[in-house]
Symmetry: C2
Amino acid sequence: MSLRNAVMAALLDGGASGYDLAKTFDAAVANFWICTPQQLYRELDRMEADGLITARTVEQQRRPNKRLFTLTAKGAEELTAFTAQQHKPTAIRDELLVAVLAADHGDLEAVKASIRERRQWAEAKVERYERLRAKLLDGRTEDDFLATAERVGPYLTLLRGLSFERDNVRWCAKSLTVLERRGARLDAPT
Amino acid sequence: MSLRNAVMAALLDGGASGYDLAKTFDAAVANFWICTPQQLYRELDRMEADGLITARTVEQQRRPNKRLFTLTAKGAEELTAFTAQQHKPTAIRDELLVAVLAADHGDLEAVKASIRERRQWAEAKVERYERLRAKLLDGRTEDDFLATAERVGPYLTLLRGLSFERDNVRWCAKSLTVLERRGARLDAPT
DNA sequence: CTGACCTAGTCAACAAGTTGAGTATGTGAG
DNA sequence: CTCACATACTCAACTTGTTGACTAGGTCAG
């Protein structure tokens, strides 16, 4: 039920097609909600059926037609109702952590390789989020931005994604150090 | 498919009943994987059918019988194979963030209340994880522990959970400040 | 002029996660 | 003596999320 709220929140910035959302989700929402295009299209159809959004077919030259979705009054209302609800806390739910938990009885080298790969991925995400942040700030200081911007929500959620990935980088580095030292100890015990 | 790997990783410490797991998951695994008891029991049945674990019924005086599950050789093998796999990165997937994203067009007061509640929850988690950490360390320094412990996996995953919740606390505090200042500005614009 | 990649989707099948209720016994507080 | 709470589960229905394959036109490099 939350995907639809995430979609509605994304549509606050104006209309978008399913394809747009599938792409820009990666920039605007993906720091805290990921989904496949298939999920998105299915949800969009349902949301249209429920009257939360309306679709307008836009004919394009040199491109396939697309359906532009916009939030309806009912959609905006439901979104507001959602913001008024209580929200369950979530945990991380990461396969890599499961692998690390079992690393002592598993393939230590492979786990280390996975952590290295994850660190790189997280570093790339950090850079991406920082570029997005700079774009949002648009030369202003944070205080200035927060005082003048129409919406602060996207900035705050971006900050959360940013610090999450920074934390990932730090944790990956620390875990690698620990596991490498451990590998050394096991290879050459005194 | 990852729940079963998480369960197997949890069983590395020795056998446990479904009920035990449902409870101790909260301590050992819940920092990165949450599930309901129902999910757990269903998965345990399937895992037994697949020969990854074996169940031994333990009759107890003054308590209902319980089934004690232990990892089989096949289970340990599959777990090792899992650690050798690549693992997709995950995002946060948090309803509260969806609400914050939409906060500018939603019920600002309710969102602030939700953030406050979340901060308290996260603070409680931090304390809990710190107690767990102290218990794992058992008086030793971290270096000492890492050099002597049989398994470092549980410690590393605990650290991840800990820093995630610390980050949550920081983010909640910052967001509250921002939203409160904003509320003030909107109530009394110059 | 061909083959790879981009736009803009759709369909079907399945796996995983959530919700709500129900069973049965024992312990401890008031 | 009763009621809440803990142990130790089970069942069914439902909603979400994932995977893989498929359509169909346009662009651009070699």
